[in-house]
Symmetry: C2
Subunit: 269 residues, 2 copies
């Protein structure tokens, strides 16, 4: 039986999940299944979870592991009585921080919703709307407001990257498809001249591009190896000639693509 890893929190469990997955990626050969348990914020729920975990331990014959971010002391105490190995982030880091700041932590569940949080939140939503309104070359007249303008051939990953930059970092990211005509004339589209310092080029390997385009329009010229090869090589030359910073999206996750773009273009995250 596979070992079960529980991501557990009295809040969203997103931090526990991300941290746990990051740590587990260091152990390739371990075979496990994961289960996320968010909003365990009452003693009743905590006791039910202990039961679930202990049943899992007995059935599997192998001790489960808990990654948790628990703020409430009473909940944490209950969970420590389960048969799992419990790794709680707050336990390890709150004490040194209390010492460093010389105050006690609030042990309040959930983030406070201050006006500052609200502002940051509204900003992210506005950035998502901006990415949608300027997706795929829409509304070039809004480019003056952009923090960054992603360019690339069709299906090189512009839309998800722009949306992630908006959602995660509140960055105003427009995106514009470089067409066959642009590539044939070896020229940037005319709007690009005045926003040259905002351009960022996405690259993609030919084989991967062909794969993605084939899924979309099987057997088309658009998805043919020749066409993909042509566009990929022509856009590379354009990027070089115009000295546009680039990133290859082929084997990277969206998180990597977005954070590398931020670092390369000196945007604030």
């Amino acid at each position: 039986m596979k070992q079960t890893i529980f991501f557990l929190s009295d809040q969203t469990a997103i931090t526990a999940e991300l941290l746990g997955q990051t740590l587990l990626s260091q152990f390739d050969s371990v075979d496990f299944v994961t289960q996320t348990l968010p909003y365990i914020d009452t003693e009743k729920k905590a006791l039910e979870v202990v039961e679930l975990i202990n049943r899992n331990a007995q059935e599997n014959g192998v001790r489960p592991v808990i990654f948790s971010t628990l703020v409430q002391e009473d909940i944490k105490t209950i969970l420590h009585n389960s048969q799992a190995l419990m790794l709680d982030v707050f336990e390890h880091f709150i004490a040194p921080l209390e010492q460093e700041f010389n105050i006690h932590s609030s042990h309040r569940v959930g983030k406070k919703h201050s006006s500052e949080d609200k502002e940051a939140y509204d900003h992210r939503i506005q950035a998502v709307n901006y990415a949608l309104n300027t997706d795929d070359g829409l509304s070039v007249k809004q480019y003056a407001k952009a923090d960054i303008i992603l360019i690339g051939v069709s299906r090189s990953g512009k839309t998800p990257t722009a949306l992630y930059l908006a959602m995660q970092f509140g960055i105003l990211a427009a995106n514009y498809p470089i067409t066959e005509e642009d590539l044939e004339s070896y020229e940037l589209p005319s709007w690009a001249l005045q926003f040259k310092d905002k351009l960022f080029g996405l690259e993609i390997d030919v084989k991967r591009l062909q794969e993605i385009r084939t899924e979309r329009r099987p057997g088309s010229r658009y998805a043919s190896l020749e066409q993909c090869e042509l566009e990929v090589s022509q856009i590379k030359k354009l990027y070089t000639r115009e000295a546009i910073p680039t990133i290859n999206t082929t084997i990277r996750s969206i998180e990597e693509i977005a954070t590398k773009i931020i670092a390369k273009s000196h945007l604030k995250r």
Copy 2:
């Protein structure tokens, strides 16, 4: 001078950032500024960071704090020689995990890009495309594929929620605006009958709705208090009558909204 908190990693630093922010939210009264330093993956970069941090410590007269997720031992050793308080996640958790799994961790920088990762990644991108293709009532004919269909009045938060569910969890989330006509007839749109178990209703407080709509169309009937009040109260009745599960989006972050929806509708994250 404010204390500086550094989020630092040899990878994207997203985990360090999220973890650090979660922990810092427990210390309301501490005044600090944050700086994120991703991709610190060479000795040269690590030495530069130590210089930056030590200069910061001297100029501010207060010890900086580092939250880090460092895989490479040599980089970690260099950073331990800075004047900051360093809280490294790997340091605390890798050892108990090595003991538990009875193997050594790989210390490999970056996730491996296995075929399984690629599949999960493609699935997320497809989910983002699905959310875009079915945004705001587009393409009802794709609803059979949906994991969930978000409904609500205009500007209640459907689009960002659907995109977040897709981007973060690979969930196929469509969204459909409930119009004045639907509300006047107290009826769900006709397509909804066959997908009733996929419906999830977003609610929003009148004042907040008015604020958001006013930003969009100031002075319009659409943004008037009367209209917002009417739509909010009518949709509440509709949700109740049709026994549709709901969430109020007013004071919640997009992460909270998304994870609560998943929990309430028993979707897999």
